[in-house]
Symmetry: C2
Subunit: 243 residues, 2 copies
Amino acid sequence: MTSAQNDAFGVLVRKLSRLSALSEADKLAVAELPFRMATAPPGAHLVREGDQVTECCVLLRGYAFRYKTTADGNRQIVSFHLAGDILDIQHLLLSRADHGIETLTEASVAWVPTTALKTLVEERRSVSEAIWRDALIDASIFREWVLNVGQRDAKSRIAHMLCEFALRRETAGLGTPERFELPMSQQHIADATGLTAIHVNRMLMALANDGVLERDRRDVKIADWELMRKAGDFDASYLHMAA
Amino acid sequence: MTSAQNDAFGVLVRKLSRLSALSEADKLAVAELPFRMATAPPGAHLVREGDQVTECCVLLRGYAFRYKTTADGNRQIVSFHLAGDILDIQHLLLSRADHGIETLTEASVAWVPTTALKTLVEERRSVSEAIWRDALIDASIFREWVLNVGQRDAKSRIAHMLCEFALRRETAGLGTPERFELPMSQQHIADATGLTAIHVNRMLMALANDGVLERDRRDVKIADWELMRKAGDFDASYLHMAA
DNA sequence: CGTAGGTTTGACTGATCTCAAGTTTGGTGG
DNA sequence: CCACCAAACTTGAGATCAGTCAAACCTACG
């Protein structure tokens, strides 16, 4: 094992440490996982629906998203991901990909054999707890998204998505939630909220007009977080940031 | 331990056995879990959003659903459940309920201390695998629901929901998928699909008119499964029935 | 400096919602 | 056994949010 390996998983170790108390031995075990590094340009397919998967994919740098499509070709983004996220922990126990994974920006990913991850989970209780807690939070976020697309109107959906992104970004140590650059286009936001890109554009302008946010292309400034929270009917409980 | 205990968890043991190969010792360990039995009338709240939870809830008889609500009171059902389902496995590692659970029909439930379940999962590899596989399939279903409410039109959403219900019901050994009685009202279907009850009613009539299904109040007969599958854009892969 | 992807604008359409009323059904008590 | 009631279901008409189509405008990049 090289020190390069230790460094590679630093962002993952930090994320897992937020989810469960890891001993130094635990952290070392994570850092010593075998893996295959890869970099991918924006819009690269990491996993395609239907794939038989034998490696889990950890995002070390950049942004990615997971999506499903209908038979007639409509795309629904089901989650956005940032550095430190395990993109497909479900492949630990389900070998067939039920959805696709794609990069949003240029990204670095580590491919870890599922067998090695499985062994790690079986042998290290705290690591297991961190990983499964992460998977359960993942599911909680999906539930919130069902609520988001099922019950909220267009403006709220978008505001909610922005709140979640801002907060998760902050939690991952990627900057303040007040001002940030979106890695996704309005079409991506549309696919995540079940709207059209045109309507997303109109609602973003409406949000700016309401004084909820300021915008310059993909740069977003949330002028008034409380206003934003209300606009998006956002309550961070579902992110289970304090387990 | 009494034989009554063994019997109580029979439906759970069968479900877990479908998810992972369990030894007789594994099955016994599940059957020996401590629990508190309860019966609940239709519409009973089993868990409320925000609750601090110390017991997991296993549905042994009847139907239930999980739901979230917006600040202005709109309800989104995020999943339906039938006998054998663990209703809130997320409480194994997340103590705060991020959504509510309610019975659809009269039901019998077993409350199992999360500590006991946690011990079971730590000590029995196959049981652990079955339970986590179930949790991951749960998440896969949430993703499909995001797609369903986000991208499909009203008629397809309802048809998709009916396909899923019919198939899961069959898998659980509760009868044929061709003909069954719905445990939920049209309002429940509306809350699950992000529509209004009135529109659900119209679409159910349209589906009957299209020759996709026959209906007499809550009795449903799927005349032509292939037609139904097409109407709902339904592909069962996401249920991971063959792991 | 040309091009492609992303964003913005406007006019029109339509799926689904809202409101309001009526009907059927299953259960309950007299 | 029947009358009543509440809940669920059904029907109709009008309103609206978001989609569609078409075109123009940026702006980063090769």
